[in-house]
Symmetry: C2
Subunit: 253 residues, 2 copies
């Protein structure tokens, strides 16, 4: 695909994802949020709560993509070490940020801002805060890195303050042709032919299989930045599938 | 945590995950399958359908962990390039495997094994097949790398043939203490104290927040390989939380 390409990487931080205790959903939320803005996710990594591992991934991914989004590890407990790791990655100090302290003092009126809560005010020097409309404790942006909460409702809430900071690309248009009751082996040839003819588009086959319902087939997805071209290729593909004797073709969208 | 440590990495392959079109669930399925066998997942990566990117991730991750599991990209369509990428990573040829051809011929009796389906029989030299009880087309193992299907029902089906090949570790025991209606800032100090006293265990705090239900709190998770020690620390932690004035403590498991 050509055009104005803007890329992002995602770093999910947390032992609870790696252990299988928690199902990550932030990747999909972020990918969709970025997708409609024409920003393409090129890599995701999930790493444990270890400072050096986080810092290493931050430095690798912020160099690979236009933007890096991290989720998790910015709360008040001892295992919340993302701010430390990002400061280490950037080689910057991690002082208490007066603006963040003020936000937290407002959040807990009449309550002592204990040492644990003060930890949440430690923000790498040079970073700007990201507003948290849900539970106040802010995220932050430093360079091209956006450091967000891990709790899905809070992470999602922070995106309102992230959106205006992003340079979008030309959004990708995606159209799906579904074939049901047909194996991928029966659609591979016409699909590959269309992919060869239109190398500037992305053509993918995403099979599904539901043994309980006895449903199987594949979603054939055509993606590109020119909506008219994508639509023309979809119609060409449907014609070619028909000529190859494939039945059970629908357009779910 | 000490003891017999066995590690794994996971490589999820597929544009449909990176675009947010599909929610990955294979990571959690694999993490739980490995967890009960005492195999610790130390990193997950999600990469697009690009041969060089897959090959690079395979080589990095197979060196980092005792085992690497890949999911996705082993079907018959043109975008199924995982076998090519793994062969490239190992520097081995990718011939048609007679055993795989025989399996596919049996799967489609009386049907021509077209060029697309024959692609699924290309297996890196030196690899052994992994049985696919769902849709027959096999995965494969080469060295410490297990190459599995991406469709969740098929990936899960393949694990039966993977399990006996793995050297397990000492399983990790995990116990949860739930605090409800309490912010993490109020439990951070007793939790950190327990973590400092028991550095051979892993103590984590995984906050939850459900704005619709107005539910918030945190799951405090104690993990270790000695069940009696884990239980003792859980009781110590509950005592310390009570002494710090925390109420709303339950044990969900």
């Amino acid at each position: 695909m050509t055009g104005d390409r803007v890329t992002a990487a995602i770093l999910i931080i947390g032992d609870e994802i790696l252990s299988g205790r928690t199902q990550d959903t932030n990747t999909q939320t972020l990918a969709r949020f970025l997708g409609v803005r024409g920003i393409e996710v090129i890599e995701v990594r999930i790493v444990p709560d270890e400072t050096d591992r986080i810092a290493e991934a931050v430095n690798t991914l912020r160099a690979k993509a236009d933007y890096l989004f991290t989720t998790g590890g910015i709360g008040p407990t001892h295992d919340d070490i993302t701010a430390d790791a990002v400061a280490e990655a950037f080689g910057t100090p991690l002082p208490e940020n007066p603006e963040a302290v003020a936000l937290l003092l407002g959040r807990y009126p009449g309550v002592e801002l204990n040492a644990a809560r003060r930890r949440m005010a430690r923000i790498p020097e040079g970073a700007s805060l990201i507003a948290n409309p849900v539970s106040i404790a802010p995220g932050f942006q430093i360079g091209n890195v956006f450091v967000l909460a891990g709790v899905p409702a809070i992470m999602t809430g922070m995106l309102d303050d992230v959106a205006p900071r992003l340079r979008g690309g030309q959004p990708v248009v995606s159209r799906t042709v579904r074939v049901s009751g047909v194996g991928e082996g029966d659609i591979a040839q016409p699909l590959a032919a269309a992919a060869r003819t239109h190398r500037d588009l992305s053509l993918g086959s995403y099979p599904f299989f539901d043994p309980a319902a006895g449903r199987y087939g594949s979603n054939l997805v055509v993606r590109g930045r020119d909506a008219a071209q994508v639509e023309a290729v979809v119609e060409e593909l449907i014609r070619a599938l028909g000529e190859a004797g494939v039945t059970g073709i629908t357009r779910p969208e």
